[in-house]
C-alpha cells in the first residue's frame, strides 16, 4: 500500500474514507479498484466515528468528526481531499447552555437532499440531531427531538447514548428518519418540528415489554433513494423490513446464522439488495463459528446468502461496527468493510470475492465509499512538487 501525505485524486476515482479509534485515513483508487493509495493518519490519536463526503453544489468536501480525549469533539472539513483541514477556533457544534449537555462525540454526518445543497445533518452523543443550512458553517440543535418526552428515558448502549443514523427522503422534503441507541426509530413529517417513535413490530428482548413504543436498540437502518418507504433495519436482535416508511416492521432474519450485528449497507442500484455482517449475540460479538461472512439479500430480505470467498473462514474473532460497511456506485458495485482489529476488506464484484486492502490500521469505526465526480482539472489535488533551485 503506497502511503502519501495528500492523495492525487482524479475525476472518476473511488475514495474510501476510513475512520478509526486513532485517526482517519483516506484511500483512493481509479474505477478499477485494483490498487489503492492511502493518506493519513489525519487527526492522529483522535477517534473518528463519522466521515462524510459532500459532492453537492460543485463541492468536494470531506467532513470528519474527530474527538480528542483531552480537548473534546469537533467537526472539521477539507476541500482538498485532506491536505488541509479547517478547524474553527470555536467548535462548530455545541449544545445550547439551557440543555446542560455537552458534545461527547459526533456519530453521523449526513448531507441533505441534492436540491438543498447547503443542508447537512449531524447525529450526536448524547443523542441529539444538529442541522446546518449554510453548508456546515453554523449548526443548530433540533429542539423538537431534544424536547421529545421520550428522550429522558433513552438509555445509552455500550457505545454511548448516540444518534447514529439519519435518513432523508427524496420524495418528502419534510420527512426525516433517525435512529438512536437505545431509543429506537423516530420520524418527523414536518421538517423536524415534531417526532414520533416508529418502532412498531421491533421486538426488544432485553426489556420486560417485548414490543414497547420505544427503547429498542436499533443498530442501523438503510433505504434506497428510489424506494424511500422500504427500510431495512439491523436491530440488537433481529433484521427487519418496513414497506411503509417505518410505520410498521416485520422480521426478515430468515437465512442468517445470527440476527445480531451492527453494519448494514444498501446496494446503489438494486433496492432489493442489502448487505449485513452477522455477529454472535450477545456478549461475544464475533462472527459465528469463527467464520467472517457477509450476507447479502437480493430479494428484499426474503432470503440471505453468505459471501465468503477471500474472507477468513476459521478462527476469526473480529467485529464490524455499525458504520464500518459501505458500497460504492460503480458497476459492479464495490463493497467494503473494516474491522475492530484494523482489517479493511474490499470486493470489486458485489461481494462475490474479497481481498484485503489494509491489515493493520487502528480499530476501524466507519467506512464511507465515495465517487468523485465533476472534479475540475484545476482543483484536482496533486502532490506539490518541489521547485528545483537553479544553480547560481
Amino acid at each position: 500500500m503506497a502511503a502519501t501525505k495528500s492523495l492525487p485524486v482524479r475525476n472518476g476515482d473511488v475514495l474510501l474514507l476510513v475512520g478509526t479509534m486513532k485517526g482517519a485515513f483516506l484511500l483512493r483508487s481509479d474505477r478499477s479498484r485494483r490498487r489503492w493509495e492511502r493518506s493519513g493518519p489525519h487527526f492522529p490519536g483522535r477517534s473518528v466515528y463519522a466521515l462524510a463526503y459532500d459532492g453537492r453544489n460543485r463541492r468536494h468536501r470531506i467532513w470528519a468528526a474527530p474527538k480528542s480525549l483531552h480537548w473534546g469533539a469537533e467537526l472539521c472539513s477539507s476541500d482538498d481531499f485532506g491536505r488541509k483541514w479547517s478547524r474553527p477556533e470555536v467548535p462548530r457544534i455545541a449544545f445550547p447552555k439551557e440543555t446542560g449537555a455537552s458534545l461527547a462525540h459526533a456519530w453521523q454526518i449526513e448531507p441533505g437532499l441534492d436540491d438543498e445543497p447547503d443542508r447537512l445533518f449531524c447525529g450526536a452523543e448524547p443523542s441529539a440531531l444538529f442541522e446546518s443550512r449554510d453548508a456546515g458553517e453554523t449548526w443548530s440543535l433540533n429542539e423538537g427531538l431534544w424536547n421529545h418526552p421520550h428522550r429522558p428515558n433513552w438509555t445509552p448502549g455500550g457505545g454511548g447514548l448516540c444518534l447514529h443514523t439519519i435518513l432523508t427522503d427524496p420524495t418528502r422534503r419534510d420527512r426525516l428518519t433517525i435512529a438512536t441507541s437505545t431509543g429506537g426509530v423516530y420520524r418527523t413529517d414536518d421538517d423536524g418540528r415534531t417526532w414520533r417513535a416508529r418502532n412498531r413490530g421491533i421486538k426488544a428482548y432485553f426489556l420486560p415489554e417485548k414490543e414497547p413504543e420505544f427503547g429498542q436498540c436499533v443498530h442501523k437502518i438503510v433505504r434506497h433513494p428510489s424506494k424511500p418507504d422500504r427500510l431495512f433495519l439491523q436491530h440488537h436482535f433481529g433484521l427487519y423490513r418496513s414497506d411503509d416508511g417505518g410505520d410498521t416492521w416485520r422480521e426478515a432474519s430468515k437465512g442468517v446464522p445470527s440476527d445480531f450485528g451492527f453494519a448494514m449497507a444498501m446496494h446503489p442500484r438494486n433496492p432489493e439488495a442489502v448487505y449485513v455482517l452477522p455477529l454472535q449475540a450477545d456478549e461475544f460479538r464475533c462472527p459465528p463459528e469463527g467464520k467472517l461472512r457477509v450476507y447479502r439479500t437480493r430479494d428484499g430480505a426474503r432470503s440471505w446468502r453468505p459471501l465468503t470467498r477471500g474472507l477468513p473462514q476459521k478462527d476469526c474473532y473480529d467485529t464490524v461496527l455499525r458504520d464500518a460497511m459501505s458500497i460504492d456506485e460503480e458497476d459492479p458495485a464495490g463493497v467494503y468493510f473494516g474491522t475492530r482489529n484494523g482489517w479493511l476488506y474490499g470486493s470489486r464484484d458485489e461481494g462475490e470475492s474479497w481481498s484485503v486492502i489494509e491489515e493493520s490500521l487502528p480499530p476501524i469505526t466507519c467506512v464511507r465509499a465515495v465517487a468523485v465526480r465533476d472534479l475540475e482539472k484545476r482543483r484536482a489535488a496533486r502532490p506539490r512538487r518541489r521547485r528545483r533551485r537553479r544553480a547560481a
Binding site: 490519536g45 483531552h70 480537548w71 473534546g72 478547524r87 477556533e89 455545541a94 446542560g100
Partner: protein, 93 residues
C-alpha cells in the same frame, strides 16, 4: 504582576504559536482568568472547557503547581502574578 497561562503544544495553533500568554486583565479567580483568556483566544478555552463551562475530564489545570481539582476548581483564587498551566492528563489507550 499579570496572570500568566502556559499553553500546551496541541493548543498552540490557537495561541498564534505562543507557549505563554500574560493576561492584561486582573482576574480574581481561575474562572475569571479563563473568561479573559477566552475573549482573546477562544480556541484555547473552548478546548479546556466544554460548552457548559466545565473543565473537560482529561484536562488538568495547575495554579502555582497545585492541581485545582484538589483546590476550589474554577473558583480557585489567583493571587497577583499567578501562573496557570494547562496540561493534558495522562490518559488514553
Amino acid at each position: 504582576m499579570p496572570v500568566r497561562f502556559f499553553v500546551p503544544g496541541p493548543l498552540r495553533e490557537f495561541s498564534e504559536g505562543r507557549a505563554e500568554i500574560a493576561l492584561s486583565a486582573t482576574p480574581r479567580t481561575l474562572k475569571e482568568a479563563l473568561e479573559a483568556l477566552g475573549r482573546e483566544y477562544p480556541g484555547i478555552t473552548r478546548r479546556v472547557l466544554d460548552e457548559q463551562g466545565e473543565v473537560r475530564p482529561h484536562v488538568n489545570l495547575f495554579v502555582g503547581g497545585e492541581c485545582v481539582r484538589f483546590a476550589d476548581g474554577l473558583e480557585t483564587a489567583l493571587p497577583d502574578g499567578s501562573e496557570v498551566a494547562i496540561l493534558p492528563a495522562v490518559s488514553g489507550g
